[in-house]
């Protein structure tokens, strides 16, 4: 959003470069903090932190929390909270694990590794997560029980429903196709990754042009052409740079040999291949784009933010805020289930403690990402960046060799300091604290 220049005089002041680019300065600050963090870890690990291998691992470790954090943005923006996400993830994971190992193969009379089983299990999991989320939303919206209480109850209930469903056992190995969503077991490969980069860049540039054209058509002020081009170039560099990193992480030769063997071929001499974009990361990227569009361009998103800004005004404007609450919690439930697919596939089985303490990581990611607990403010990309920062902190400290208790102490302090910085920033820029 543009900085509000009070009563702009007829001759506008010369704008700074940043103002002309209209980039969110808060986002810049976060990216800056992230870069400093990475460089520091890289220095203390003698260059092991910023290797393609570690960056690849960081991205796939971030996905599960990041997916839920995008939903938590909607929840917190409407002035609610969801403490049950980690437990809900466990229940969805348990349901999907039982479905694909114990129920569906018998029911359909197909093998454990049939792709149909994976697809059906995921659908069952998503429906289950959405339904549970909607139910909690109904308790909050229609029965007016505070979200804190409903989801605190949910934290206990769903954690133990998961336990009951699996009798506390680890369920695995999971379906082969299902495991593709775990990260390293399912990637796009080099060619498709580059193709994705190209398509994504073209789409982003097209969106820029379309937005500018629409503004010009309504005779509204637009950014100078150089600023628009600079943003276009930045986007292209960011997308290709990210894909280049993921492609640079090469599949170990032993594994390549096995892949070729499975196809009945022999690994050619000197052949190498990069992993490229993992399916889970691809899912997160698509989700981020879709949810950002939902937040900014749909009525649902607009109402979420309006309700967070002033619930009475939203209600008086004819918005059905109760139904909105149900929808927001249903979305959160859906995302918990999606996250459960990624989390359990990454572990290659369902464990009884899956998702434990995730609610705290998810809320922390959203809050570090600039979502205000007072409601009405938050971005999807901020939450994802927040999740990435949390994960980098955690694995960076592990790589440096910080003792486990100190790791958690640091993460806790970073959360508090991040919110303090955020409050100070908002005060200075005159926004809502």
């Amino acid at each position: 959003m543009k900085a509000a220049t009070a009563h702009a005089p007829a001759t506008p002041k010369k704008k700074s470069v940043l103002a002309a680019l209209e980039i969110d300065t808060r986002l810049l600050g976060m990216i800056g903090a992230f870069v400093v963090l990475c460089l520091a870890f890289n220095f203390f690990t003698d260059g092991r932190f910023l290797t393609p291998r570690n960056i690849f691992n960081l991205t796939i470790q971030t996905v599960s929390v990041a997916i839920m954090a995008t939903g938590m943005v909607f929840i917190i923006v409407t002035r609610h909270i969801d403490l049950s996400v980690g437990s809900l993830l466990a229940t969805c994971s348990a349901v999907m694990a039982m479905a694909q190992t114990a129920i569906l193969p018998d029911l359909l009379g197909v093998g454990l590794d049939s792709p149909v089983v994976a697809a059906l299990a995921i659908v069952v999991g998503l429906v289950c997560g959405t339904a549970i989320g909607a139910f909690q939303g109904w308790l909050v919206g229609y029965l007016v029980i505070p979200a804190f209480i409903v989801t605190l109850g949910g934290l206990l209930v769903w954690r133990n429903v998961a336990w009951y469903l699996t009798s506390g056992q680890t369920i695995g190995p999971l379906n082969e196709t299902y495991l593709l969503f775990g990260g390293i077991n399912g990637t796009l490969g080099e060619t498709l990754s580059w193709a994705f980069a190209l398509v994504a860049t073209v789409a982003a540039l097209w969106a820029l042009v379309a937005s500018r054209r629409n503004k010009v058509a309504h005779e509204m002020p637009v950014k100078p052409m150089w600023a628009e081009s600079a943003i276009g170039v930045l986007i292209a560099v960011a997308i290709f740079g990210f894909v280049a990193l993921l492609v640079a992480y090469e599949i170990p030769s032993g594994r390549l040999e096995r892949i070729f063997e499975a196809r009945g071929e022999v690994l050619p001499e000197g052949y190498s291949a990069g992993y490229g974009i993992p399916f889970s990361v691809l899912a997160l990227i698509v989700l981020a784009v879709v949810l950002t569009t939902v937040a900014r361009k749909t009525r649902f998103g607009r109402y979420v933010f309006a309700t967070g800004g002033n619930p009475d005004a939203a209600e008086l404007s004819g918005i059905n805020t109760r139904m909105l609450t149900v929808k927001v919690f249903a979305l959160m439930g859906f995302l918990c289930a999606l996250s459960a697919v990624v989390a359990s596939a990454r572990l290659t089985n369902h464990t009884n403690d899956i998702g434990t303490l995730d609610e705290l990581r998810v809320i922390a990611a959203a809050v570090i990402g600039g979502t205000a607990l007072s409601g009405g403010v938050g971005t999807i990309y901020g939450a994802i960046l927040g999740a990435l920062i949390m994960q980098s902190l955690q694995s960076g400290m592990a790589m440096v060799g910080v003792d486990a208790p100190f790791q958690n102490i640091v993460v806790g302090m970073v959360l508090v300091v991040a919110v303090l910085v955020d409050i100070l920033y908002r005060k200075r820029t005159g926004g809502k604290a």
């Binding site: 959003m1 749909t298 008086l316 004819g318």
Partner: protein, 262 residues
């Protein structure tokens, strides 16, 4: 909907635009509104007067859909209607401008103006450029000095915020306007602006309920005044036939002025 009644003034002819008949509503043991009947004609401003807690805001919230009345009926253009929520009220072209300025502070002017009725394109996406262009057009008419189109409304002054709220009602062709102390947060110049706006809306044939504490203002802006005390209607008078002291007497003592007492 009935045909436009043009510039008909007063209650002398035509059917009333709104009739609130025998409205009652209680909260717990408190009878907030006690069998009150008020009507409103096109092109007329009816002031609702009374102390804090007299029930005037509560009465009007039954019309705007914020509260559900316990008993009584609402007629619009002579037809009985059910108003259970603000959406119902909007369907009957009833728009409310609240004392507390019902705007979402974190959104900009055009988002607030179109809140609940966004312009969408063929894909169902909000067309922000179109909305902002419409906002610029209507604000250019109502408040030409308004510039802060992309700032959240929390950055606006009281008068600017009020003009956004009024623009919202005007843009959506309100037939019945409810104003709850529309000038309470405004300076003298902005108050004058709102007064001119009310005159303009009257000329266009809208009916306006104006809730206010300020007797002087009610005398200036309104055609009739309905005075309430302790949830009951003291009386409805034409403001030209009473003095400010008469109105004050009605508010404080709950007595109709003697020269009007039948």
């Amino acid at each position: 909907m009935s045909t436009d009644r043009g510039t008909d003034r007063g209650q002398d002819r035509g059917a009333p635009l709104v009739e609130l008949r025998d409205i009652s509503i209680a909260f717990g043991g408190v009878q907030a509104v006690d069998h009150v009947t008020v009507d409103l004609y096109p092109g007329e401003v009816v002031g609702l007067l009374g102390h804090n807690g007299a029930g005037k805001s509560t009465l009007i919230k039954c019309l705007s859909g914020a509260y559900r009345m316990d008993s009584g009926e609402i007629r619009i253009n002579g037809n009985k209607v059910e108003i259970n929520n603000p959406r119902d009220a909007r369907r009957h072209n009833i728009e409310t401008i609240y004392q507390t300025l019902a705007l979402a502070d974190n959104l900009d002017a055009s988002a607030n103006l179109f809140l609940g009725r966004e312009i969408t394109n063929a894909l169902g996406m909000i067309d922000e450029a179109q909305m902002e262009a419409e906002t610029r057009r209507i604000m250019g008419r109502l408040n030409p000095n308004f510039r802060k189109f992309s700032a959240p409304v929390s950055a606006l002054s009281g008068g600017q915020r009020q003009s956004v709220a009024i623009a919202r009602a005007v843009y959506f062709n309100a037939k019945i306007l409810i104003m709850d102390e529309p000038t309470a947060a405004l300076g003298p110049q902005e108050t004058q602006m709102v007064a001119e706006l009310i005159d303009e809306l009257k000329r266009q044939g809208l009916g306006i309920f104006l809730i206010d504490h300020d007797i002087h203002q009610v005398k200036q802006l309104c055609d009739r005044a309905a005075v309430m005390k302790n949830g009951q209607l003291v009386g409805i008078v034409k403001v030209d036939e009473v003095s400010e002291d008469d109105l004050l007497g009605m508010i404080i003592a709950g007595k109709r002025p003697e020269h009007l007492a039948a």
